[in-house]
């Protein structure tokens, strides 16, 4: 059988399928269960300085099988209370990556310092939430701010830092290059795309926050393009995210340039069993196509071209 363990951003992952931030990541028990179900590592919900209830409902609109719209509004217990959830996940043996979001470089750095103390093996910076005012992609679509935030965090903590890139930008690869300059150990791409749903009967946007973020299969081609373009611009590893629902999807991301991937929305469509199934599919596909290791597929589509 092909070897699934990969190294990425200096972390040893037992397989390249990570639980994406914001899915099952509010409670330690859920993180632990995702790990037990086979995730290569689990990424926490994005954690801020203070508890945040998030936006009122409706927070979700689901497009059967091909997409999902959400505006959760970054609900989280705050960095003060969250460490106990991480402890539960670590207690179950999980490889945990801590995701954080802040309003400026200083807030990111102080969150990172607190997060580093919990025992996580890396920190992912959410620079890309498309619907939280003052956070996420408002900072994350400006290369100068991305570089500044990443540098502040890498200066503050000894852990590998992963910058999560927004696709809501003219040049996502330029943002990845900024993260690399700032010292990021890896980038992850993509977060959700700014989107809206309207209920014509009720004559209003469905989500309470109106604008939300689109995830799921609909965005896979967009995520692949970002990973492809980032691979042409940076040397640090890339974690592919967006619309992964099968082993073939994972392999597409690897071939586009990713070293690992994150899976989110598919968990809503299928349950946590998605990790086991996708892992088996990936393994069979790598075997059939003659790859001895998952890592051998990384960037393969770039070499073939020409």
């Amino acid at each position: 059988m092909p070897e699934l363990p990969v190294r990425c951003a200096g972390i040893a992952l037992r397989n390249p399928l990570l639980l994406a931030s914001g899915i099952w990541g509010e409670s330690g028990e859920s993180l632990a269960r995702a790990w037990t179900a086979g995730a290569g590592a689990v990424i926490t919900k994005s954690i801020g300085s203070l508890p945040r209830p998030g936006y009122p409902n409706p927070t979700i609109e689901s497009y059967e099988r091909w997409g999902m719209l959400n505006a959760m509004g970054l609900p989280n217990p705050g960095i003060g209370e969250y460490p106990r959830e991480i402890a539960v996940a670590l207690g179950a043996g999980a490889t945990v990556i801590g995701s954080i979001f802040g309003g400026d470089a200083e807030e990111f750095a102080s969150l990172a310092v607190a997060m580093a103390k919990t025992g996580v093996c890396a920190i992912e910076l959410n620079l890309s939430c498309p619907h939280a005012q003052g956070y996420g992609s408002e900072i994350g679509s400006d290369p100068a701010q991305v570089e500044e935030v990443v540098r502040a965090v890498t200066d503050a903590v000894p852990l590998p830092v992963i910058a999560k890139i927004t696709p809501n930008a003219a040049d996502p690869a330029g943002l990845a290059a900024a993260a690399e300059r700032g010292g990021a150990a890896a980038v992850s791409a993509i977060n959700t795309l700014r989107a809206l749903a309207i209920d014509v009967e009720l004559r209003r946007p469905i989500l309470a926050h109106r604008l939300g973020g689109l995830s799921g299969p609909a965005i896979k081609p967009i995520g692949l393009a970002c990973v492809w373009q980032i691979r042409e611009r940076v040397r640090i590893p890339i974690i592919g995210v967006g619309g992964i629902a099968s082993g073939q999807d994972v392999l597409e991301y690897l071939m586009a340039g990713a070293s690992a991937v994150e899976i989110g929305t598919q968990v809503a469509f299928e349950g946590i069993g998605a990790f086991g199934r996708i892992g088996r599919e990936l393994s069979e596909l790598l075997e059939r196509l003659g790859f001895a290791r998952a890592s051998d597929a990384t960037g393969a589509a770039h070499f073939a071209t020409g």
Partner: protein, 224 residues
Amino acid sequence: MVWFPGEDELPMSLSYTDGSSKGITVKAMGETSRNVQRIETGARLGIRGPYGNRFDLSPRRILIVAGGSGAAVLAPGAERAIEGGAEVTVALGATTETELLFRERFATMGAEVEIATDDGSAGTRGYVTVAVEQLLATHTFDAVWSCGPEIMMRKVALLARARGVASYGSVERQMKCALGMCDACALGPFHVCVEGPVFPMEKLLELPEFGAFKRDSAGRRVRF
């Protein structure tokens, strides 16, 4: 999930279904559910779902324990069980007589109804669990269903366990996505929106947090 446009979207059980129309029963708990009381006839709501599971209707002799608004969740199940030929006994509890929900309805559908109020304004005085203990001692049941405050549900489950009767409970948690994704409704390793709201009580009794804490909108642990 029921969307009250301009207000909020809340998890609600169908408390009435008769082929053509469906009903929900909303208890004024907080801001939204209070505002909802003022909704006018003809107003339009949004509905997503149904999500999650329901009570298994196969047991033949069922004890239903409803605390407060829990009756809204249990009434349609009781109706369907009786239609299916089950014998249903209902232990209905509330703080006071005026809070007793669906007292008439349970009687009309053919259930045996025992009442308990904390203040004794109707039925037995005291917690509904006292009535439950008596019923378990005097009747034979294949299953116990409960819905109400978690402390009540916990007690009911322990009483049922002591008598060797299988028990199931419908629990409440914060709900946002209702799709098993956002973790708002996490209860131990479970997601109430997908794997619940009905659980075998034996699974819940194992969880240190059951009856001890829930999570608020921010995901913080909040003691009951």
